[in-house]
C-alpha cells in the first residue's frame, strides 16, 4: 500500500515534469509577445525590448528552460508579468474559490446524478429509465453559458432568489454550482445507469434475490457498490477538468476561479502564471488519480490484493 503510493507519487512527479515541459514549450511556440501584450498597442519598440530584458525573455531558450526547471524545483514559479506578484500567489488566490465551486458542484452532481442513474439503471428500458435518459441527454445538449445566463435571468432577475454574480455568501455559489453540475449530473447518471445495468445481470444478484431481497435492497445493498468504479473514474476525470476548465461558468458568474486566471494569463502571455497554474493543476490531477485508485481499493477488495479475475 505505502509502496504503491510512493511509486504512484514518483510517477506523478514524472508526469508533472512532462506537463511543465510541455506547457513551457507550447506557450513559447504560440505567437504573441508577453511584453507587447503587457504594454498594449501604444508601446514603442524600445520599451518592449527593455521589458523583455527585464522579464528575462531575451535569454536563449535553453537557459530559460534551465532556470525555469531549477526555480520550479525550488517551488519558485516567478512573478506574474501582469499582476506583479508571485505567480504562485496569484494561483493560490484563485484556488480556494475554484475548489469551493468544484466541490459543491461535484457534491450536487454526485447526489443528483447517482440518484437518477440508480432510478434508471434499476429498471432498464422502462419509462423511468427512458425519462431519465432523455433528461440527461438534454442536460448535456445545452451550452454551459446558455444554462448559466438562463439561470441568472430566472433566479436572479425574475425570482430574485439569488444574487446574479460574484462571491461572498453561500447563496452566491448556488447558480454557478448548479450550472457546472448540469452536464456533470448527466454524465454521472449515464455512467451509473450503464454500469448498474451491467451489474444487474450478474449472478450474485440472483443470489441476493434468492435470499428474499427486494429489488431496492438488492440494488442498494449489492449491485451499487459493484457499479461504482466507472462512476468514480468519471467523477475523478471530471473534477480534474473542472479545476482549470470552468472558464465559461467563471466568466458568466464573475467567479474568481483558476480557469479565468489561466485563460487570461494565456491571453496576456503571462508565462509564469500559465506555468504555475498548469503545474498546480497537474499536481492536483496526480493526487486525484491516486485518490481515485485508493477509492477503487476501498470499493473493490480484489484490487487490493491484485486479483481481479
Amino acid at each position: 500500500m505505502i509502496g504503491m503510493i510512493i511509486r504512484r507519487l514518483a510517477i506523478g512527479l514524472l508526469v508533472m515534469w512532462g506537463a511543465a515541459t510541455l506547457i513551457f514549450v507550447i506557450i513559447r511556440v504560440a505567437p504573441g509577445d508577453p511584453a507587447a501584450v503587457l504594454l498594449g498597442p501604444d508601446a514603442e519598440p524600445g520599451q518592449i525590448a527593455r521589458l523583455r530584458a527585464e522579464l528575462g525573455l531575451d535569454q536563449p531558450i535553453f537557459v530559460q528552460y534551465g532556470n525555469y526547471l531549477l526555480d520550479t524545483v525550488r517551488l519558485d514559479f516567478g512573478d506574474s508579468y501582469r499582476l506583479r506578484m508571485p505567480a504562485i500567489e496569484a494561483v493560490f488566490d484563485r484556488l480556494p474559490a475554484t475548489i469551493e465551486l468544484t466541490l459543491t458542484s461535484t457534491a450536487l452532481a454526485v447526489v443528483v446524478g447517482l440518484t437518477l442513474g440508480i432510478l434508471a439503471g434499476m429498471r432498464p428500458n422502462t419509462w423511468t429509465d427512458r425519462i431519465v435518459s432523455g433528461l440527461t441527454t438534454m442536460l448535456q445538449s445545452f451550452p454551459t453559458f446558455w444554462i448559466g445566463i438562463m439561470l441568472i435571468l430566472i433566479f436572479a432577475l425574475w425570482l430574485r432568489l439569488t444574487p446574479s454574480a460574484g462571491t461572498g455568501t453561500p447563496l452566491h455559489m448556488v447558480l454557478p454550482a448548479v450550472t457546472l453540475a448540469f452536464p456533470f449530473v448527466a454524465i454521472v447518471a449515464r455512467v451509473t445507469r450503464s454500469s448498474l445495468v451491467e451489474n444487474m445481470g450478474e449472478a450474485y444478484l440472483d443470489t441476493a434475490y434468492a435470499k428474499g431481497l427486494t429489488l431496492r435492497q438488492a440494488v442498494l445493498g449489492h449491485a451499487l457498490k459493484n457499479s461504482l468504479i466507472p462512476v468514480i473514474t468519471v467523477i475523478g476525470l471530471h473534477i480534474g477538468a473542472l479545476l482549470g476548465g470552468a472558464v465559461v461558468v467563471e466568466n458568466v458568474f464573475a467567479w474568481p476561479g483558476l480557469g479565468t486566471l489561466m485563460v487570461e494569463a494565456v491571453g496576456n502571455r503571462d508565462y509564469t502564471v500559465v506555468q504555475a497554474a498548469t503545474l498546480i493543476v497537474a499536481g492536483v490531477i496526480v493526487l486525484l488519480n491516486l485518490a481515485t485508485d485508493l477509492v477503487y481499493r476501498v470499493l473493490d477488495p480484489r484490487i487490493r490484493t491484485g486479483r481481479t479475475s
Partner: protein, 335 residues
C-alpha cells in the same frame, strides 16, 4: 463403488415422512414466441432429493428459477407451482419473496460469480437472517456456526474475508452455508458442483448431504452429470428440450431406462474404474427452442423413431410400477 457414507444417507431419507412440499404441474415458460419450458411437471416430498438431469439448454435452470420465482420479467409463465398447498404463480411478489431464503433457498452453479465480490463472506452468509430482523450478535454467532458446519476452518477469521480470498471449494461451501442458514424446507441446487475439481466435488457433496440430513431439507439437485445424480438423488427427472422425458427412482431409471434418450445418456457415461470403449454417439445436436421438431422432440436423434413419433407427441405416462416416461415405445425400451 460408492461414497463411504452413502448407506446412512439412504437410511435417513427413507425414514423421513413423505409430506408433499412442492407440486409443479404443466409449467410452461415462453419468451418472444419461443416455448422454453413445455409442460414440466414434478413433485418433491419433504426430505427427499429429486435429481434433474438434462443437456445444456434443456431447461433445468429455468425450472428451478421458476420455482423460486426468479425468471426474467419478460417471460410468460403458465401452469401451476403449488408450495404446501399455496399456488405460487397466483401469489403476490411480496408473498413469494417471504418464502425465499427461509422456506425455499437456492445454491447456484458458479460459486465465484454468485457471490458478491465486494461484500465480506460473513455479511453475505448472514444477510438472510439480518434482513429478517435477527439481532446482529445472533446473526454473527449463527454464521460462524454454519460456516464451521460446512467445513470452513477458522470461521471467526474467515467471515472477514472476501470471496476472492476463498478457494473454489470454500466458496461453494459458503454458498451452501448461505442457502442453509435459515433452515429452508427445500433447497434448489443448480449444478452446485459442476465448477469444482473431482476431489473437491466429492467433499462438497458429502458435506451437503450431512447438513441436509441434519436440517431435514428436501432438495432439487440440478446437474448434467449422471454420475453425480446417481449418487445424490432419490428420484430423478430427465429433461430434454424443455420437457420431462422420464421420471422415477434413480436406481430404476438408470438401471433400466424407459426412454431412448435416457438410455443413450447412460450408455455415454464413461467409467473410471473399468475400462470402457468410447460409446456410439447419439447423432446430431440437442434440439433448441427455436428448432424443436414436431411430435416427439427427441425423434430426430432417436434410432427407434417411427411415423407416430412425428405426428403425435408422446405424453408422460406411467410405465411399469413407479415410473413415468414420455415415449410411445417406452415398454420396448425398458425391457
Amino acid at each position: 463403488m460408492t461414497l463411504p457414507t452413502s448407506d446412512t444417507r439412504v437410511e435417513t431419507t427413507v425414514t423421513e415422512p413423505g409430506q408433499r412440499l412442492l407440486t409443479v404441474d404443466g409449467l410452461t415458460v415462453s419468451v418472444g414466441g419461443l416455448t422454453l419450458l413445455d409442460g414440466v411437471g414434478l413433485t418433491i416430498d419433504a426430505g427427499e432429493t429429486l435429481g434433474l438431469i438434462g443437456e445444456t439448454g434443456s431447461g433445468k435452470s429455468l425450472t428451478s428459477r421458476a420455482i423460486i420465482g426468479l425468471l426474467p420479467t419478460a417471460m410468460d409463465v403458465t401452469g401451476s407451482i403449488v408450495w404446501r398447498g399455496q399456488e405460487l404463480l397466483a401469489a403476490s411478489p411480496a408473498q413469494r419473496r417471504r418464502l425465499r431464503g427461509t422456506e425455499i433457498s437456492m445454491i447456484f452453479q458458479d460459486p465465484m460469480s454468485s457471490l458478491n465480490p465486494t461484500m465480506r463472506i460473513g455479511r453475505q452468509v448472514g444477510e438472510v437472517l439480518r434482513r429478517r430482523g435477527v439481532p446482529s450478535v445472533e446473526v454473527q454467532r449463527r454464521v460462524i456456526e454454519m460456516l464451521e458446519h460446512v467445513g470452513i476452518p477458522d470461521p471467526e477469521r474467515r467471515i472477514g474475508n472476501y470471496p476472492h480470498e476463498f478457494s473454489g471449494g470454500m466458496r461453494q461451501r459458503a454458498m451452501i452455508a448461505m442457502a442453509m442458514i435459515a433452515g429452508p424446507s427445500l433447497v434448489l441446487a443448480d449444478e452446485p458442483t459442476t465448477a469444482l475439481d473431482v476431489t473437491v466435488q466429492a467433499r462438497v457433496l458429502e458435506m451437503l448431504r450431512q447438513v441436509r440430513a441434519e436440517q431435514g431439507s428436501a432438495m432439487l439437485f440440478v446437474s448434467h452429470d449422471l454420475r453425480v445424480i446417481s449418487h445424490v438423488a432419490d428420484r430423478v427427472s430427465v429433461m430434454y428440450a424443455g420437457s420431462i422425458m422420464e421420471q422415477g427412482p434413480t436406481v430404476e431409471v438408470l438401471r433400466r431406462p424407459a426412454h431412448p434418450y435416457t438410455k443413450a445418456l447412460v450408455a455415454s457415461v464413461p467409467a473410471v474404474r473399468t475400462r470402457t470403449a468410447i460409446a456410439d454417439p447419439l447423432p446430431g445436436a440437442p434440439a433448441t427452442p427455436a428448432d424443436r421438431p414436431t411430435g416427439c422432440p427427441f425423434r430426430t436423434r432417436c434410432a427407434l423413431a417411427h411415423d407416430r413419433c412425428v405426428e403425435e407427441r408422446p405424453v408422460l405416462r406411467i410405465v411399469g410400477t413407479d415410473r413415468l416416461a414420455a415415449c410411445h415405445v417406452a415398454e420396448e425400451v425398458s425391457r
